[in-house]
Amino acid sequence: MADFNAHQQSCTRPWPENSNANSTFYARILAANPDISGSRNSPTISQNAEISANMMPSVTVVLEGRAICQRISLQKHGSYQSLAKALRQMFLDISGDYSLEKSPENDCDLSNAIPGYFIAYEDMEDDLLLAGDLNWKDFVRVAKRIRILPVKAKQKAYGSL
């Protein structure tokens, strides 16, 4: 009998019913199974946004001329400035050129993150655009790949529409 009671104890849910933990649990279930509907604790709009954001994959960062690329999660950054700092650090780590480290951190934005290079991105239509024109939220939605290009690469025939 004691064994049965012990078994019963182990079967109880580790979280109380109708708690906040429950809705987070459902958010994770929905993330894994988008077809589930009519769940008792349906996620709110903000939780939906969180699910959607967590489902977006990282984007590839291509440094022109380098054979090996890296990945970056745009969701972890809340602004272009944060992205610029991360890309500068990535560039330092790849190039081993730490002279940039001497620049003050709060001085780093897209235009000066990596001197001699500019930061562009490929969007969902495969167009190559300069990063910074869109607001951050729009950029995160549409950026498919980030390309760090030398300034001289700007001049090139724009081909097909």
Partner: protein
Amino acid sequence: MADMDDCLSSIEEPNKEQVFRSTKVFMKGQAIGRAVNLNILNSYDQLKDALEDKFQIWGELQNCNHKWVLLYIDHDGEMMIVGDDPWPEFRNIAKKILIYSREEVNRMMMPVDFGF
């Protein structure tokens, strides 16, 4: 930008037209395009100002020189000259904007010889 944020708050049925209002602009000879939000501009003049800034061609879109010509692609994929439509209508129909040199545009406007 407040309008854009309001649109972005609803993501249940992401409608690309609804949530994304920037128009891409490409210049012939440049590999990298730019994006401009037509909804915060009130006239063709303001558009030309913004593009002269972004592409660093001050004075070359607006004045008599007209070194560069603005074209746009509509929803049917047709290439048109910017300026024929009332500004509010243009904002809705321009899917992409192109900046071509005057020489290039003159060449493209030459009638095609069908050889009859």
